[in-house]
C-alpha cells in the first residue's frame, strides 16, 4: 500500500516536470533559454518516472532495467546539453534581445587574441 503511494507519487511528480519542460521548450524566446528549461526539467522528470517504476516493480527484471536506465539518463543528458549549447553558440546563433550579460563572447575573443599572438 505505502509502496504504491510512493511509486505513483514519484510518477506524477515526474510527469508534472515533463509537462513544464515541454511548455518551456515551446514558450521561451531563445535557444539557450529553451535548452536550459527543457533539458533540466525533462531529465529530472523522466528520472522521476523511472524511479517510480523501480519502486513499483521492486528488484525484478523490470525494476532493475528502469534503475539502470535512470542512472544512464542522469549521467549522459548534461553532457549532450553542454555539447549542443556550445555548438549553437559557435555556429552563430545570437542570444535574445533581453540578455543582460554574455561572458562567453569575451572569453572567445580573448582566446582568439592569444592564438594570434602565438602565431
Amino acid at each position: 500500500m505505502i509502496r504504491e503511494i510512493f511509486g505513483y507519487g514519484f510518477i506524477v511528480f515526474g510527469i508534472v516536470f515533463d509537462f513544464f519542460g515541454a511548455l518551456g521548450l515551446v514558450r521561451l524566446p531563445d535557444v539557450y533559454n529553451r535548452l536550459q528549461a527543457a533539458t533540466k526539467c525533462v531529465t529530472f522528470g523522466s528520472a522521476g518516472i523511472l524511479f517510480g517504476v523501480f519502486i513499483l516493480e521492486g528488484f525484478a527484471s523490470g525494476g532493475l532495467k528502469s534503475l539502470i536506465c535512470m542512472v544512464f539518463i542522469l549521467l549522459t543528458s548534461p553532457v549532450a546539453a553542454h555539447a549542443i549549447s556550445r555548438a549553437a553558440y559557435r555556429s552563430g546563433v545570437k542570444p535574445a534581445k533581453e540578455t543582460v550579460v554574455d561572458l562567453y563572447a569575451d572569453e572567445l575573443k580573448g582566446s582568439e587574441k592569444d592564438e594570434n599572438a602565438k602565431a
Binding site: 510518477i11 523522466s46 536506465c69 549522459t76 556550445r86
Partner: protein, 113 residues
C-alpha cells in the same frame, strides 16, 4: 497583438486538453498519465517543425528522446511486459549518440576532427 493572440490560443489548447483528459473520457489512471506525455511529445514536435534555427531542432530532438524513455517506462507498467524497458534503454543510448553527432555537425566539424 499577434503575440497576445498566440499566447491566448496556446492557453486555450492546454486547458481544452486538460478538461478532455480528466473530465470527458473514462479510462484508467495510467492511461491519463500516458496521454499527458503524448501531449508533451506533440509540443516538442511543434518545435521540431517550426523552429527558427537548426539549433532549436537539435534541442527538440534531444528532448523528444528523453520524453519517449519515460513514456516507454509507463507503457511497460501498463501492459506488464518488461521488454518495453529494453527498448527504453536502447533508445536512451542511441539518443545520446545522436545528440553528440548533431552537435558536432552543427559546429561545422567533421567526424574525424
Amino acid at each position: 497583438m499577434s503575440r497576445t493572440l498566440r499566447w491566448f490560443i496556446g492557453l486555450l489548447l492546454v486547458i481544452a486538453f486538460i478538461v478532455f483528459n480528466f473530465a470527458i473520457i473514462e479510462v484508467e489512471f495510467l492511461v491519463r498519465l500516458i496521454n499527458i506525455l503524448l501531449m508533451c511529445t506533440l509540443m516538442v514536435i511543434f518545435r521540431v517543425i517550426f523552429g527558427p534555427s537548426a539549433a532549436d531542432r537539435v534541442v527538440a530532438v534531444d528532448i523528444f528522446g528523453i520524453i519517449i524513455v519515460g513514456l516507454l517506462a509507463l507503457v511497460s507498467l501498463f501492459t506488464g511486459a518488461s521488454f518495453f524497458l529494453d527498448i527504453a534503454m536502447a533508445w536512451a543510448l542511441q539518443s545520446f549518440i545522436v545528440s553528440l553527432a548533431l552537435a558536432k555537425f552543427l559546429e561545422g566539424r567533421h567526424m574525424d576532427d
